[in-house]
């Protein structure tokens, strides 16, 4: 009985998320008025801002899991950190792409070195490197340790990046005053995007767990049959 309810949680969550996404899209298409000075293109904002906030949330999850790993050395923390970093990169890609399309329409250029575009790019690089570092270390323990320290340092780097790009000349809209209809649409977008973020992190985490536990079985098998297991690191001198 409990198992059956557990099996229903995932699909229900995703169906609900999908319905809310459709509602949010419909609100942008039919309910929200155009902004006066920027026109239709301002509507990208409803996707852009919640995704940017959720990118930070995913990075925060990564930071917490990295510290938890350093303190407790549990493989589950490492898997959660890996999952959240992967989702953060995905979200940051969305922020970058939507921001670039906005820039192309508003300023006629795909890329300008404006503070916020630069900030998103550096954030993307920081966590893309996190994923690359993970994939290039072979030993499981070493990989987890390197990734955790890097995750810790990278997250502490984010506010410094923000402070440093603030010194650049800016052409971004600083604050947009929102009509009530716009505010409702924004809230309607925050809900599905946050749900997608945490749903993706959980699904990715479960996959990482399965992968790790499956691989552990393979590693144990040869030694049990009398073969020597080669050391994973320190081989080359």
């Amino acid at each position: 009985m409990v198992g059956r309810i557990r099996n229903l949680v995932g699909p229900t969550y995703w169906i609900l998320t999908f319905v809310l996404t459709v509602v949010a899209v419909a609100m942008v298409a039919f309910y929200t008025p155009d902004e006066k000075t920027m026109g239709t293109i301002q509507k990208i904002f409803y996707l852009h801002l919640p995704t940017a906030i959720c990118t930070f949330l995913a990075c925060l999850v990564n930071f917490i899991c990295s510290i938890a790993f350093l303190a407790q050395r549990r493989s589950a923390c490492d898997d959660a950190a890996a999952a959240s970093a992967r989702v953060a990169v995905q979200l940051c890609t969305v922020v970058l792409v939507t921001g670039m399309i906005w820039g192309k329409s508003a300023w006629g250029q795909w890329w300008t070195w404006s503070p916020r575009l630069t900030f998103s790019l550096v954030l993307w690089l920081l966590y893309a490197v996190y994923l690359m570092v993970r994939s290039s270390v072979e030993s499981e323990q070493r990989r987890a340790l390197i990734a955790a320290v890097y995750g810790l340092i990278a997250f502490l780097d984010v506010p410094l990046v923000y402070l440093s790009v603030r010194m650049m000349p800016d052409i971004h809209p600083v604050s947009v005053s929102l009509a009530p209809a716009m505010r409702w649409t924004l809230i309607a977008w925050f809900v599905p995007i946050t749900m997608i973020t945490f749903g993706l992190i959980v699904v990715r985490y479960n996959l990482n767990r399965l992968d790790r536990l499956g691989r552990r079985d393979d590693e144990i098998a040869p030694s049990a049959r009398g073969f020597e297991v080669l050391p994973a690191e320190g081989g080359a001198v």
Partner: protein, 224 residues
Amino acid sequence: MTAAIRQIGLLVAKDLRIESRSRQTLGLVIVLGLLIVTVLGLGLAAGKPAGFDATAVLWVAYLFAGVLCFEKTMAVERDEGALAGLMLAPMDRGIIYLSKLAANLLLMLAVAAVVTPVGVLFFGFDLSAAPGSFAIVMGSGIVGFAAVGTLFSALVSSTRLAGGLLAMMVFPIALPLVITSTLTLMGVFRDGRELAAGGVGVLVAFDVIFLTVSWLVFDWILEP
């Protein structure tokens, strides 16, 4: 406190003695820095009167030279299990970090002392307007860069592709240093303004945060 300083002094002297006898790193790194400045100078500065991008070019040279320095000073400990002996010594692990950092800083200082004048010459960059500001900005930038680089070099030195991994990890982390110092120096040299306190503040904040964190984390990451 005095014991700690003495320990750091001993370890730094050891690293410098190894360097002075083997002459592995310094020559290599300085020539690499000069090569980078030359290549970028040929690509960028040809046909341009005054190069305010000299600071960015110098940063590229510092970054690559620095990564090589960090990797070499840590690779010394990899040989014949020297690190295990170092870890057996009755002292705080933080001391090991600080001594490695000091050795790296001395090496980078030597590199900067050669590469900077050459870069300034090649790019026709007039340093005489505010040499003090230049030294403060670049100096605090290099300290922060070395703080992170020393931590990561200890972290990745046991992996197969240590050098490439180190560069990949340190460069994005060091980006705020590059952005801040180039913008701050641009303000001083091109626009003729005073040294911006905000810019120096970011650099110092970077130094303080990462020196503290690295010193704390170093305990956990050192494995022979």
